[in-house]
Amino acid sequence: MAKITRKEFLAQDIVLLEIEAKRIASNAQVGQFVVLMPYETSERIPISLHNWDQIRGTIQIVFQIVGRTTSELSTLDVGDYIYTLLGPLGKPLELAEYGKVVCVGGGLGIPPIYNIAKGLKEKGNEVISIIGARTASLLILEELIREASDELITCTDDGSYGRKGFVTEALRDLLNTTKIDLVIAIGPVPMMEAVANLTRPMGIKTIVSLNPIMLDATGMCGVCRVKVGGQIKFACVDGPKFDGHEVDFADLRRRLAMYKEEEAKALEEWKARI
């Protein structure tokens, strides 16, 4: 049971939660995630860590309401308890001196990009962040990301804010003019795939954070298996960060769509019940 201490709507259907979780806050590292169940009857779902405060013993996560479990989570308020919270999970991102790094965050990839940009900058890297969303109202956490980076480029698909177009277009222009040592991309699967396709011919090391379906998230079930460099990896323990040039994105997309029908049914049942 973990208590919610803050709740904020960052945009329509995008919620930030601050949760009391002393142990997770003291041991969290850059690029990790948690798994949670809002209620006893819920599914276990993974959500990235956005931020944490060791002294206060709290963590922050940001999620988008997309289906049953995220809807359930959004019904909890300050003072309520989350039934199950486990973390921090996954291999942390190695904080080294890479040089010039571009952090690309698309949509719900923006919150986790925050701690990564911050960690890399503190380590002495020069961090350029590119964040993007469909439209201005969905472009969240801009000020925080700006603080955590040396430079920030914002984009919206519809041009309602910042540069018009996809983050990959901003990234292409940047790569054409500047020598970059590392690209980190977090966001929807097509975005991460597009980034990997862009940097592959240029030979720029690219790390992506994969989001397959998970269950236990402790390495015990294998549902999170992904193909990387022709080998099977369990994203919850071997990842979720992998070399973007090695990832089989088509396989990931297929596996993510596995329960579409059931997910719709689960949401419907829950809506009918409340």
Binding site: R23, I24, N27, Q32, M37, T41, S42, E43, R44, R68, T69, E72, Y83, T84, L85, L86, G87, P88, L89, L215, D216, T218, G219, M220, C221, G222, V223, R225, K227, I232, V237, D251, R254, R255, M258, Y259, E262, E263, K265, A266, E268, E269, W270
Partner: protein, 461 residues
């Protein structure tokens, strides 16, 4: 008792197959008190009991059976608990047909005593009196961390708590019990039995903390340094599912047995959509493997209303490592067994095809005494919409991978000495993490050894 009677076992009550496949309630009803007494009376109370040699923890079997003869179930239970702290669990899941019962002298002239069923009867009817000896430790004489709440972790915790040692059990999942909770289905081991063991431990003063993945939520080294535990027992089990490495394994509807069983046992996917975790309810289900895990997965599939369920095994029934009773139960329930088939590919989507090579049985035997098999060129195709892979599990790699100085064997198991000590000071390991996937009773035996050694280390007698 004389003549033919002594050769025949008192039959054990079971629910009829057509009824039991509709729910997850227990299949085996166990003996009534009267039946248990009658079965106990067949026992010869041998002066050199062979059955005891077959028991991995050395229960004084004729002694507890003698108490049952007298109808004294509490005393029978007491006798068992000198050696085995989880009799209600072991009486249900121990492969006794390969252990104590395989040694019983009566096996030479007829059916061996139903020792497992009598153990269960002792726990069913003996428990009212006293389950938990000792209350919360009045004064603690040491502090030990146990990682993992499967049978090994629970046993070690109980043994230590008995000696007034303060114990904290850390469990990664949101329920305690390890494989007992997420792996073995409730129709073989009802949840209330596990619940009761957990309650007993709590009453003994053991602290149990869930949702803690040691290595991540608490760094392993912190247990001894920051959190001031004097000793650590690693009981993280063999939860790493093995896959086939064949084409099509990532297709929708292809599960590891661990995933399939966890969805149902831990997450209650059988009650989807009230419970949020989904599962594919196949019409035709193929389960690959021949152990308890495969049989459990197949029987769960049947209870999720599959029309046809197949077990696909690369050898023959004789070599199957699963418990005999469970193979029989599975057959009664209508599960079909296909032998001498080795999968090489999974094709299609939705309605899939499991492509297998036919194996040939050789006369030659392997190290374990089982007949070897060889691939032939013959191909066999099986249509199935859900395919479950149950070909084994390896030791959980998380803690060893984060602690490179912890010595590991070839299969990833933590290497221990005869006292279950690892290569690290003040760190013990036992159960499946040290042996590789084995049994509940083996895990328990190792945990007891470790507890004894930890007590000596702490100077507690």
């Amino acid at each position: 008792m004389e003549g033919k009677d002594i050769e025949r076992r008192i039959p054990i009550g079971e629910r009829p197959p057509e009824e039991r496949i509709k729910d997850f309630e227990e299949v085996c009803l166990g003996y009534t008190k009267e039946e248990a007494i009658a079965e106990a009376k067949r026992c010869l109370t041998c002066s050199r009991p062979l059955c005891v040699e077959g028991c991995p923890v050395g229960i004084n079997i004729p002694a507890f059976i003698s108490y049952i003869k007298e109808g004294n179930f509490p005393q029978a239970l007491e006798e068992i608990k000198k050696k085995n702290l989880l009799p209600s669990i072991c009486g249900r899941v121990c492969p006794s047909e390969y252990q104590c019962e395989s040694k019983c002298v009566l096996g030479k002239i007829g059916a061996p005593i139903a020792i497992g069923a009598l153990e269960r009867a002792a726990s069913d009817y003996g428990e009212e009196n006293h389950l938990c000896e000792g209350n919360s430790p009045s004064h603690s004489v040491g502090r030990v961390a146990v990682i993992g709440s499967g049978p090994a972790g629970l046993t070690c915790a109980a043994e230590l708590a008995r000696s007034n040692i303060e114990v904290v059990v850390f469990e990664a999942l949101h329920e305690f019990g390890g494989v007992l909770s997420y792996g073995i289905p409730s129709f073989r081991l009802p949840r209330r039995i596990i619940q009761k063991q957990i309650e007993t431990l709590k009453a003994m003063g053991v602290k149990l903390e869930k949702n803690i993945l040691v290595g991540r939520t608490i760094p392993f080294r912190d247990l001894l340094m920051k959190e001031k535990f004097q000793a650590v027992f690693i009981a993280t089990g063999a939860g790493l599912p093995q896959l086939l490495g064949i084409n099509g394994e990532n297709l929708e509807g292809v599960y590891s047995a661990n995933e399939y069983l966890t969805r149902v046992n831990l997450m209650r996917a059988d009650q989807f959509p009230r419970y949020g975790t989904p599962i594919k309810r196949g019409k035709r289900v193929a389960v690959i493997g021949g152990g308890n895990v495969a049989i459990d997965a197949a029987r769960v599939a049947l209870r999720l209303s599959a029309e046809e369920v197949y077990i696909v095994y690369r050898r023959t029934e004789e070599e199957m490592p699963a418990r005999r009773v469970e193979i029989e139960h599975a057959k009664e329930e209508g599960i079909k067994f296909l032998y001498l088939l080795s999968p090489i590919e999974i094709k299609g989507n939705g309605e899939k095809e499991l492509v297998c090579k036919r194996m040939a049985l050789l006369d030659e035997r392997d190290a374990s005494g089982r007949r070897k098999v060889r691939e032939t060129e013959e191909i066999f195709n099986l249509k199935a919409d859900v395919i479950i892979i149950a070909i084994g599990q390896k030791p959980n790699p998380l803690i060893p991978s984060l602690e490179p100085t912890l010595r590991r064997g070839k299969e990833g198991e933590i290497i221990v000495d005869e006292e279950m000590r690892t290569s690290l000071e003040a760190v013990w390991a036992g159960g499946d993490i040290a042996s590789g996937a084995a049994t509940v009773i083996m895990a328990m035996g190792m945990a007891k050894k470790a507890a004894e050694s930890i007590k000596r280390y702490l100077g507690v007698t």
